[in-house]
């Protein structure tokens, strides 16, 4: 009951929150110098055609008027405008690209969890062991290495030298027929379609970028798990369980359960960050994801994709935080009240 009321309350705030985000990002993006009309028509365009285009795009109107039109289109038609680079509606573009990014970072974070949590638990439990040393160095390296550099190294070894993985050019081989789009995540779509060739190809292309993101995000997950587990294993109830003579495995399992909220928090922060933050990895692998789309927009004074991306990322972040809260509810009876 409490959960339902809580979700309802959160839903009420989603609208105002999104409006605030759009308001701020709209005016900030407009501050970026660069005239779309010049970018679109090239350096040889005459002043008359430029003015005509500006009028057509509404650039002659005041910022407030432009903002009003933008919001009106969004609320009434779900229209985020067009990208002049792709000449398609931004919503369509993003519905195509966002799943690519989400598939990538979701799998990357799952791998990060698989690396970070066991290492963190092990390092917290065996404080002086080799594992703890290894975790220390790993945490340091994962924090220090740039993701795109790691991606390039991985490509060099596993594609150029060993040839174990497909070339880092997009999400499928050129000759593979893509499955019909249902979710936009190629693994799921090809499974639904029963298209095994596409499934294999998509999985192959996912390996290196996912490993890159997994190795990098494993670092903070490891650190968070380790420090929380450290605290939990020293906590009163862990000592009490020890006093009651419970097996180590149970004590560790209980401590891990008490550490989960922190791990969930760091994963949600990483997720929100990676929606845009995975862009360098996307570029290295020509992934065609949402981050890449937004950066192209910024570079070419193509404002609508940028704003659209911010809007999508904001919605996703709000959804993620809602899910996180639901997970807290599930884990901790004290939150349930």
């Amino acid at each position: 009951m409490r959960v339902v009321r809580y979700i309802g309350k959160r839903m009420l705030f989603i609208g105002p929150q999104l409006f605030g985000i759009i308001l701020v990002s709209f005016f900030l993006v407009k501050l970026i110098p660069g005239d779309p009309a010049v970018m679109m028509l090239g350096p040889l365009a005459t002043e008359a055609t430029l003015t005509e285009l500006r009028n057509e795009m509404g650039l002659n109107l005041s910022l407030v008027e432009q903002f009003y039109i933008y919001i009106k289109n969004l609320v009434l038609h779900g229209d985020l405008g067009r990208s002049w680079q792709t000449t398609r509606p931004v919503t369509e573009d993003l519905f195509l690209r966002m799943p690519a990014t989400l598939e990538l970072i979701t799998l990357g974070l799952i791998l990060g969890l698989l690396i970070g949590v066991p290492l963190g638990v092990g390092a917290a439990y065996l404080k002086r062991g080799i594992l703890a040393k290894f975790s220390d160095y790993y945490g340091l390296l994962a924090g220090a290495l740039p993701d795109f550099w790691l991606a390039l190294v991985l490509i060099f070894f596993f594609y150029t030298i060993l040839g174990w993985v497909p070339p880092p050019l997009g999400r499928l081989d050129f000759f593979t027929i893509a499955p019909p789009t249902v979710t936009g995540a190629l693994l799921i779509d090809s499974l639904l379609d029963g298209n095994w060739a596409a499934l294999g190809s998509a999985a192959g292309h996912l390996i290196l970028p996912v490993v890159t993101l997994g190795l990098i995000s494993g670092g903070p997950i490891l650190k968070m798990t380790q420090s929380t587990m450290d605290r939990m294993l020293e906590s009163d109830y862990s000592r009490y369980e020890e006093m009651c003579g419970l097996p180590k495995s149970i004590i560790i399992r209980h401590a891990l359960r008490n550490s989960l909220p922190s791990v969930v928090t760091i994963v949600s922060v990483l997720y929100g960050f990676l929606i845009g933050g995975a862009v360098l990895v996307e570029i290295v692998f020509s992934w065609g994801g949402a981050g890449q789309y937004a950066v192209q927009g910024v570079l070419n004074a193509d404002i609508n994709p940028v704003l659209g991306f911010v809007f999508f990322a904001a919605v996703l972040s709000l959804i993620i935080y809602l899910i996180v809260d639901l997970i807290y509810f599930a884990i901790d009876p004290r939150v349930r009240g």
Partner: protein
């Protein structure tokens, strides 16, 4: 060792010294030469102020001294076995099963994410190798035994949903479920209202005696020991200063510190006035060579400051560590 068991001694502590290293200074000596015997079926009260080493003693018996503390010398024998020689697995099998602890702050020491029923059941499950269902049944019976109101509902409750008194009962259920032979109650009721405290203590005493177990009853409240203990031991600065049967102790407390402890409950302002003289630095200032209590003692002489008193048996079942014991 065999003769100890024959004489019915379940726990025998001899010359136990425990210290906590402190960075760049002398280690803090938490326990200094503790000698204590607990017979089977006996409840022995251990009374002392904060920092006197009560909890360290309890944790030493469990072989779980908080880091970086360590045993410098002495031995603890449980049922004829030197605990220091046991391996980690043997100790684990002993803890919670043979030697159980009732803790003082159950609401922070119970796992917040596990229902209290399962926390009780877990202890039975892993010590008695019971299947989950059996263990749960036993936990339920135990909740009834500690007289928790509405046990079926409380079984599924989480620690934060319990009152202090109920949480204390849960901790007792955990301690008693494996029918341990030795129970340590570490200031277990200090957080409760006086009325609830009495109920819980009566219950604890009943259950301990039903099971024929022995108990080391650690408390700061000397009055409680009069009702529940066979023997009373007074600990000061890591040292037992007086040990007597409850009858003898309350008839004729002999150590000046014991008298001061008793006088703290007195209505006589002159007696209570003794406590205003307490020197804060007394503990640290005490010369290693003299009596540790000399700086706070009203009867201290030059001898007390120069020479450390030994434990002397004054009468039958009454020993005291003092050069000038109080006489009636």
């Amino acid at each position: 060792m065999a003769e100890n068991s024959a004489a019915g001694t379940i726990l025998n502590i001899e010359g136990l010294n425990v210290s906590y290293p402190v960075y760049e200074t002398d280690p803090v000596r938490a326990l200094r030469g503790i000698d204590l015997k607990v017979r089977e079926g006996e409840i022995i009260g251990l009374v002392g102020e904060s920092g006197s080493g009560k909890t360290t003693l309890a944790r030493s018996i469990m072989q779980l001294i908080s880091r970086p503390g360590r045993v410098d010398s002495g031995r603890i024998e449980y049922d004829g076995r030197d605990l220091a020689t046991l391996g980690e697995e043997e100790l684990r099998a002993l803890r919670g099963n043979d030697i159980a602890m009732v803790i003082p702050n159950p609401r922070t020491e119970l796992n917040p994410l596990v229902t209290v029923g399962m926390q009780i059941a877990n202890v039975a499950r892993y010590h008695l190798s019971l299947p989950r269902k059996e263990a749960k049944k036993m936990a339920m019976a135990m909740l009834e035994a500690v007289q928790i109101p509405d046990p079926t509902r409380r079984f599924k409750a989480y620690p934060h949903e319990l009152s202090g008194g109920m949480a204390q009962r849960v901790v007792m259920a955990i301690a008693l479920i494996c029918s341990p032979r030795f129970i340590i109650s570490d200031d277990a009721t200090s957080g409760l209202d006086v009325t609830v405290q009495t109920q819980v203590l009566e219950l604890l005493q009943d259950l301990v005696q039903q099971q024929g177990a022995s108990m080391l009853f650690i408390t700061r409240d000397i009055g409680i020991t009069a009702h529940y203990c066979h023997q009373v031991a007074i600990i000061y600065a890591g040292e037992i200063v007086e040990l007597a049967s409850t009858q003898n102790f309350f008839d004729n407390p002999q150590h000046p510190y014991s008298v001061m402890l008793l006088s703290a409950f007195s209505h006589n302002p002159k007696l209570r006035g003794l406590w205003t003289k307490v020197v804060d630095a007394a503990l640290e200032g005490a010369a290693e060579s003299g009596c540790y209590f000399a700086a706070r003692c009203v009867r201290a002489s030059d001898k007390c400051r120069a020479e450390h008193p030994d434990m002397r048996e004054m009468t039958d079942a009454h020993s005291v560590r003092c050069h000038h014991p109080v006489e009636r």
